[in-house]
């Protein structure tokens, strides 16, 4: 299969296809999601019944204090973890019923995930880290490299493509992680504190990038501590102690 740099990518087509199947279904639909971490002696209830939905093309910020369950929720939305109970539908499809192949395809093509801890492979340099999802998408080597370098340039790291993660600053590593999430042109971008390690200038740039992606039709969900960042989103979901709280303030642009 092929992926294009422009907006009419196959991942979009895939998204479209499943959208057609499930007309008007929200991109994300969660109902009474619970997540319990059971490490023998202690049970931590990280999510205690969370329900909401996100429509196609929305730009949503999730805010909440540390330890409130934001990352836990985000991992479930990214199909990287499974809820203990509750229902999660991705564009109308019940994720709990997907098999490993389908899940891999969703993670690879429909979702771009930016990890809070970056999760770069230390033995690979920047562009090789960024090209990883393209390998699993079946893109050929020359196109992979070009696309990886383009994605790195987009986050302002065009001059650091051959550096390994250990040779990059925290903020630079974060931008490599963002480039990796963008490289497949996914329709849904989930970003766990993508500006957490950035100075205000770089944070503004990254936020601008997300806004740009949003304008071109992508659905963006990002976690932030920063109310100013949250204010840039269309909508804010507040989370506290594993429960959806009252949104303290609605997004600024609405």
């Amino acid at each position: 299969m092929k992926l294009d740099d422009d907006d009419s990518s196959l991942s979009m087509a895939l998204q479209q296809e499943s959208d057609n199947k499930a007309k008007m279904k929200p991109v994300i639909f969660v109902d009474e999601i619970r997540k319990v971490y059971d490490s023998g002696a202690v049970k931590v209830e990280a999510l205690r019944g969370v329900s909401f939905q996100i429509e196609k093309g929305e730009f949503v910020a999730i805010i909440g204090p540390s330890g409130s369950g934001k990352s836990t929720l985000m991992h479930i939305l990214g199909c990287l973890d499974v809820p203990t109970s509750g229902r999660f539908e991705l564009a109308g499809e019940d994720v709990s019923r997907m098999n490993e192949e389908e899940l891999a395809a969703v993670r690879n093509r429909r979702i771009g995930f930016v990890f809070q801890q970056f999760n770069l492979l230390p033995s690979l340099n920047a562009w090789k880290n960024v090209e990883l999802p393209l390998i699993y998408a079946g893109v050929d080597a020359t196109r992979r490299k070009a696309m990886a370098i383009a994605a790195l340039s987009r986050v302002g790291l065009g001059d650091r493509i051959s550096h390994r993660p250990g040779e990059l600053s925290g903020g630079q590593q974060q931008r490599v992680a963002i480039a990796r999430a963008l490289v497949t042109n996914p329709a849904l971008i989930l970003a766990d504190e993508p500006s957490g390690n950035l100075d205000s200038k770089a944070a503004t740039d990254v936020l601008g990038l997300f806004k740009e992606l949003h304008q071109s039709g992508r659905t963006i969900v990002l976690i932030t501590h920063d109310r100013e960042v949250a204010a840039q989103a269309e909508r804010t979901i507040a989370i506290r102690d594993g429960l959806i709280g009252t949104s303290l303030e609605e997004g600024g642009s609405r």
């Binding site: 991992h75 990214g78 990287l80 973890d81 499974v82 490993e100 192949e101 891999a104 395809a105 993670r107 690879n108 093509r109 995930f113 999760n119 492979l121 033995s123 690979l124 990883l132 999802p133 390998i135 699993y136 998408a137 079946g138 990796r180």
Partner: protein, 414 residues
């Protein structure tokens, strides 16, 4: 994701984790080299024993005269006359009577003193026929062996073992020289091949120290008297190893009939095969094989445990990588395949280096130690399979398990 990409990912992963890869290769390599050499040493020793046994004459039966003190004590028993005679030997060499017997050599062996110039030497003097050479599986290195006309003419000729020749003539060429045996002058016509080796002096040295003369010459000129035609043994060569027992039956039946004996227990002769020698040798072989096999198994086990450890550790420290690859869209199948390729490459590289070292060792080592090394293909192949199997098993199984976890669980592992 196609196979070539997986292969590339595997190879680049091997190259980036150089130390780990080298350790894995070393583990496999040591195991296989050790197995190749220990099994090779064992088989080399077995080969040596087998060739020494065959130097005693393969397919050989020896008929010796028995005691005459049974219930039928009246038979035989005149002085020291043997119960075996030349006519017994002639009967056995008849292919109609004994179809499984290839050749027969009657012998009369006695101790004699050989004198050549100032040297004298006491050894066994064998009076026999031209068939003796083939039956005993010997050959001539110089000159010739006894011929039919030597028998017919009672020629005064002798064929010497190499040790005997050396004792009597030192470095000189013995062929054509004359030697006195118990006072009878003889001409040396040939020298027997050397079969003894330093490692088994007692078993085979007598084969290199003897004097072989025409049966008729020995009977007339050295023995004489009423015992001149009595035999000390009849050597029988069976057609093949598989017809050895048939040849035994035929010889036994024919001799019993010739001697007019109805009860096998009353037999006035006995027939021995090389069985006793063989069975001793076989049991030594078995012990050796078990011992060396044990050593080989232990070295393979040690190498295997080494490979297993490295594989387990390397997969454990790569569970985060597995989680990440899965989060980015790798299916469990692709991940398993990547680890399978990595483990197979490491195993095969280590295995092939191990085999190469084993072969090199088998070529070089015999120059420094006296033992021959015989390479065993099945042992090498077996070791290769075991080592690669262990590497693949302990590399792929935990990777496959990690690949079935939700990506976050794998990413969180320490």
């Amino acid at each position: 994701m196609n196979f070539l990409e997986t292969l590339k990912t595997g190879v680049s992963s091997i190259l980036t984790h150089r130390l780990r890869s080298i350790l894995t290769i070393l583990g496999v390599m040591i195991g296989i080299t050790a197995v190749t050499l220990t099994v090779g040493l064992g088989q080399g020793a077995q080969g040596q024993v087998a060739s020494e046994i065959s130097s005693l004459g393969t397919n050989l039966l020896t008929v010796t005269p028995g005691s005459t003190t049974s219930a039928a004590g009246i038979r035989g028993g005149f002085g020291s006359a043997s119960t075996l005679t030349l006519s017994d030997a002639n009967a056995l060499s008849n292919p109609i009577v004994a179809p499984d017997i290839q050749a027969v050599a009657a012998t009369n062996t006695r101790s004699g003193t050989l004198v050549a110039g100032n040297n004298n030497w006491t050894t066994s003097v064998v009076g026999t026929f031209p068939t003796w050479l083939g039956v005993r599986g010997r050959s001539i290195t110089q000159g010739r062996f006894l011929s039919a006309s030597d028998i017919a003419n009672q020629s005064n000729v002798v064929v010497l073992g190499s040790v005997t020749a050396a004792e009597l003539f030192g470095g000189r060429d013995p062929v054509g020289q004359s030697v006195n045996i118990d006072g009878v002058p003889m001409t040396v016509i040939g020298i027997l091949n050397t079969v003894g080796s330093s490692s088994s002096a007692s078993a085979t040295s007598s084969l290199d120290d003897q004097a072989v003369v025409p049966f008729t010459t020995l009977a007339d000129e050295i023995v004489g008297g009423p015992n001149r035609d009595s035999l000390s043994s009849i050597l029988i060569e069976a057609r093949s190893a598989s017809s050895l027992s048939a040849a035994y039956q035929e010889a036994d039946a024919e001799l019993l009939a010739l001697h007019g004996i109805t009860l096998a227990a009353d037999a006035d002769f006995s027939i021995q095969s090389q069985q006793s020698v063989l069975s001793t040798a076989t049991s030594v072989d078995k012990t050796l094989t078990i011992l060396l096999g044990g050593v080989a198994a232990i070295s393979l086990l040690v190498g295997g445990i080494g490979v297993m450890n490295i594989m387990l550790v390397s997969v454990t420290e790569r569970i985060r990588e597995i989680g990440l690859r899965k989060a980015l869209g790798a299916t469990p199948r692709v991940i398993r395949r990547q680890f399978l390729i990595e483990a197979s490459i490491l195993g095969l590289v280590g295995g092939l280096i191990g085999v190469a070292l084993g072969i090199a060792g088998a070529v070089i080592l015999p120059h420094f130690i006296s033992n021959p090394i015989k390479l065993s293909i099945p042992a090498m192949a077996g070791a290769l399979v075991v080592a690669v199997g262990i590497g693949v098993g302990f590399g792929v199984y935990p990777a496959g398990r990690a690949a079935n976890l939700p990506p976050i669980d794998a990413l969180r592992s320490e």
